[in-house]
């Protein structure tokens, strides 16, 4: 099985900024993304989806390292200061590297 290595960028943040976040991520070069509705707790307190957009989302992007760094940089600049957010990176093996 011939695989290639790509980066998986995971961001957990406020559900409310979905549109803005997706715009930033696509601008940074992501060609696809996956979103999950989640809830959580961090330095900005507990965020459960009791009503409307009071919960969190998890955004995942598989991409090349350069794009991952662009996403991290863009997100850090626009959102880190003011929004509940964590971001982490992992290596993943993919089968169709041309997709990412």
């Amino acid at each position: 099985m011939a695989t290639a290595v790509r980066k998986l960028v995971t961001i957990v943040t406020e559900a409310r900024i979905e549109r803005q976040l997706l715009a930033a991520v696509e601008a940074a070069g992501a060609r696809g993304w996956t979103i999950t509705d989640v809830r959580g707790k961090g330095s900005r307190g507990v965020r459960r989806a009791e009503f409307d957009l009071s919960g969190n989302l998890r955004l995942e992007v598989v991409c090349e390292t350069a794009v991952a760094e662009a996403i991290a940089a863009s997100v850090r600049e626009r959102f880190y200061a003011d929004y509940a957010m964590i971001l982490y990176l992992q290596d993943v093996e993919v089968l169709r590297p041309e997709k990412f």
Partner: protein
């Protein structure tokens, strides 16, 4: 003084269950469903009434109501700056100048239970009051300097769920009229009060879940969250009386003035003024003012309206 509507007991149940850490929850999807039906029901009813009105007669009252929506947040800001940083004061002021449709729904049920009539176009005032205060709050926070993406923001606020459903309901009610809507009354009329009860149950649970934020918000904000609505209610009631509204209509306008937004305003400020701490404004509007209005305020505001008309 008029006694409380039984629907309030559901709020109390939710609050108690939440504080006791019961595992009772309404799924978010159900909360959304209830909200959609309540907003549409209010809009539809308003639209039917609106059609009976000469449109021109609404111009002056509408302008007066918008003016109130511009002035109230300024007053709130002046007060809040005594104890809070600029962005937080501005954001909270925006919440309190704007309105809470949930509170309005309870007030409508309350007025109807008293056997009082009211002007149907009050539903229009809800829409008119929702936006101006948010704009004032944003300008207070950021100044008129460049950098605010007003276009994007207008989209987020004007196309928010509550405005779309209220305005849409108004339009549909206006076009279809009472007869056209009659076959849908099973949902939008007969279930109104029951859905309001479930909505209040959930609001009680939500309020309880935020009790923690509340403690952290401090005495200054707590006092504001109780006292400012009382002042706003006087402003609203007086305006209603000057506009020649009925007792029921006056009471509802007082309630609108006294209520604080916890849906449209949080969404707008989170995007436009992200530096403002959302826990503060929600603790005040959702944790204190909503229960205060619903449990204590409504009979007061009705008394006020009655007194003005006496």
């Amino acid at each position: 003084m008029a006694s409380l509507d039984p629907v309030i007991l559901f709020f109390a149940l939710g609050l108690l269950a939440g504080l006791a850490r019961s595992d009772l929850r309404l799924p978010a999807a159900i909360y959304d469903f209830l909200t959609v039906v309540l907003l549409l029901a209010i809009g539809l009813k308003g639209g039917v009434e609106l059609a009976r009105q000469p449109a021109a007669a609404l111009l002056l009252p509408s302008l007066a109501v918008i003016a109130m929506g511009l002035v109230l947040p300024l007053l709130a800001y002046a007060w809040l700056r005594l104890g809070l940083a600029r962005v937080d004061a501005a954001a909270i002021a925006g919440h309190y100048g704007s309105v809470s449709v949930g509170t309005f729904a309870v007030a409508v049920a309350f007025v109807q239970a008293q056997g009082l009539a009211f002007e149907g176009y009050l539903a229009l005032f809800v829409v008119l009051l929702e936006v101006p205060a948010i704009v004032v709050g944003i300008v207070l926070a950021r100044g008129l300097a460049a950098g605010t993406r007003w276009g994007e923001l207008a989209g987020e606020v004007l196309l928010g769920k509550s405005i779309v459903l209220l305005l849409g309901g108004l339009a549909i009610g206006w076009i279809a009229g009472e007869d056209g809507l009659a076959p849908m009354s099973g949902l939008f009329v007969d279930l109104f009060k029951g859905f309001l009860a479930l909505f209040l149950l959930e609001m009680g649970l939500i309020t309880a879940a935020r009790a923690g934020d509340l403690r952290r918000s401090g005495l200054f904000l707590m006092a504001f969250a109780v006292l400012f609505p009382l002042g706003s209610a006087v402003v609203g009631a007086t305006l209603g009386w000057l506009l020649g509204l009925s007792v029921g209509g006056t009471m509802l306008l007082a309630t609108l003035a006294a209520s604080a937004s916890y849906i449209a305003a949080p969404a707008a400020f989170r995007l436009a003024v992200p530096q403002a701490n959302p826990a503060l404004s929600l603790a005040a509007s959702l944790g204190i003012t909503f229960p205060f209005n619903v449990l204590v305020g409504l009979p007061l505001y009705l008394g006020l309206a009655r007194w003005l008309h006496a």
